[in-house]
Amino acid sequence: MGAPARKREVPHVAATAWDLLRRFLTMREGSIIVVTVVLVVYFSVTVSTFFTGPNLQTLLQYFTWLAIMAAGEVFLMINGEIDLSIGGVYLFAPLIFYEVHGGGIPLLPSLIITMIVCMVVGLVNGLITTVFSVNSFITTLGTLFTLQGLTLIISHAQNLEMPGAPSTDPNTGASVIGTFASVFGAGTYSELIWALIVIFVMQLALTRTRWGLHTIAVGSNRNAAAEAGIKVRWVLIRNFVVCSTFAGFGGILEAVRSSSITPDPSAANSILLYAIAAAVIGGTGLAGGSGTIVGALIGALFLGILQDGLAIKGVNANYLVFYLGLAILLAMGINVYVGRARRKSGLG
């Protein structure tokens, strides 16, 4: 009796392994995980300095804040909306922080006030979009330029020193990192920890709470969501507020890390597009109804690795943008293919 049982067992194990692999590959994040791992292996093999502690620390600054911004954007993209103003909020928030702190308010309260200002920006985006039924692309294009313009006007387009950021001791010349700085961006792993917290909380919110469920419902079928009793307008406004807040927070972290406020709209615009790219590469579509926060983290990581790897490999910076474009096209192709495979296999 033993022999036939063993015979049956072997294909069973193989089938389970195959089924698990298929499940993994048809996961919304499965394909980008594979592509990212391939990229890591490629750079580790071809560049000796890639898989080293110092470089992995450098890598953190390429993607952590991007993941934070992309997390907010994913919620709006699941709604079938988009927020372009994150490129403005990213620039504007550190300046507000600078001005508020300059008015004699301590660091932490200044940060809270700055976050409230970011929320108000999101509220304005949400109200204009929902109350006046304006396409969010247009609404947030308006607020994007408005905020970038305000930033240039207030800062006179001059670089400013970020309050609370690491400073240099005038006597010893050593770098001084205060508690505020080490928590909000300048500590080696502080951005990573913030990114992981944001991703964890938002993924949980998306998959395990009413907020997430209603966000998917509103993005999938707005009329049906309203008929079921979901307050569509509030779901949208809330997501605009959250998206702006994360964008501002990302801006603060980066300003603290780099110790300076750089009012450069064109850099902010490419950051905005990188955040959207991270979401899209991670498996969130523009049509609404579906998306993944973990995917956005991996999408941001993918972009970070690509930038960092090509940079230390000594590839001409001009090629970087070209490769990035190809990567997005490739990721989209894989997403479409995997999406079809998922629907066919009935894995949901």
């Binding site: 949980l204 395990r208 709470t209 009413r210 907020w211 469920l213 209603h214 998917i216 419902a217 993005g219 999938s220 079928n221 009329n223 049906a224 969501a225 309203a226 008929e227 079921a228 009793g229 979901i230 307050k231 109804g289 579906s290 629907r343 009935g346 949901g348």
Partner: protein, 283 residues
């Protein structure tokens, strides 16, 4: 169209009774220049199944959406259990015990069967914001088993299901929602004979239990006579007939509709004639 007068004998005065669960009086609703409901009054007794009939565009769905709180009436009043009833939202109506199965089903394709079953009234683990998925699955399974709908998995998106299965989920969602007034807008529309019979059987069973009072829009007169206690017919935004099903017949109901078409045709001809008279003749 709305200005075409209904013969006075067709307009039914509201008959209120003390055991009315729901009373609707003189409800009117327009969408811009289009009058959907002119002056609708109806009542629903406890445990009663009221069939609502009418031509396409007669205002049936508008009436349902007004009662369920999806939209507000321009004028008129409603009472629920004798108390003034002015739902500001679907949620509020649901809390007061009025639930609805929409004609378009209001299902979210991307969400799973059990998530759709509990959409907007999702149970949560006590004092946390987290959804109690296990409970949702268990209760959804029980509700679907109870009706006799056999779905192997409840965690697949409803987009994967057939029209009839989707319809059953929408009906099950309404029936098992703790409501005591249930509004059903064409609950058999996408169903085959077998599934349709299953839903009609469910409705008969609920009627027997007597807990739920229902208003049901149906197109098939035979189904109406079979499942409903009473029938109301909307013609041009008013209730033009209110009779117990025992006192009416497919013939009578058909006659009203034929009559309506006849009047509409005459009106169209008259309008045509008036337009022809108004246009100057070109040489």
């Amino acid at each position: 169209m709305a200005d075409q007068a209904i013969p006075a004998e067709h307009i039914v005065a509201p008959v209120a009774a003390p055991d009315d669960v729901l009373r609707v009086e003189h409800i009117a609703k327009s969408f811009g220049p289009v009058t959907a409901l002119r002056d609708v009054s109806l009542h629903l007794k406890k445990g009663e199944v009221l069939g609502l009939l009418g031509d396409n565009g007669a205002g049936k769905s508008t009436l349902i959406k007004t009662i369920c709180g999806f939209q507000n009436a321009d004028s008129g009043k409603m009472w629920l259990h004798g108390e003034p009833y002015e739902p500001k939202s679907v949620d509020q109506a649901r809390l007061l015990g009025v639930d609805v199965v929409y004609q378009d089903l209001a299902l979210i394709d991307e969400l799973s069967v059990y998530q759709n079953m509990f959409l907007c009234r999702e149970p949560r683990h006590s004092s946390t914001p987290f959804l109690d998925s296990r409970r949702m699955k268990r209760e959804a399974r029980k509700a679907l088993d109870d009706i006799g709908i056999n779905l192997p998995r409840l965690d697949v998106p409803v987009a994967r299901l057939s029209g009839g299965q989707r319809q059953s989920i929408a009906v099950a969602r309404g029936v098992y929602s703790d409501a005591d007034v249930l509004l059903l807008d064409e609950p058999l529309a996408a169903m085959g004979a077998k599934e349709g019979a299953m839903i009609l059987e469910l409705i008969a069973r609920l009627k027997e239990e007597g807990k739920l009072s229902m208003i049901m829009i149906l197109h098939n007169y035979v189904h109406v006579l079979e499942s409903c206690d009473r029938v109301n017919m909307i013609v041009d935004g008013v209730i033009a007939l209110d009779k117990p099903t025992a006192e009416t017949s497919v013939d009578e109901l058909t006659e009203i509709v034929v009559d309506e078409y006849r009047r509409a045709r005459l009106a169209a001809q008259a309008e045509e004639a008036a337009r022809a008279a108004a246009v100057p003749v070109e040489d």
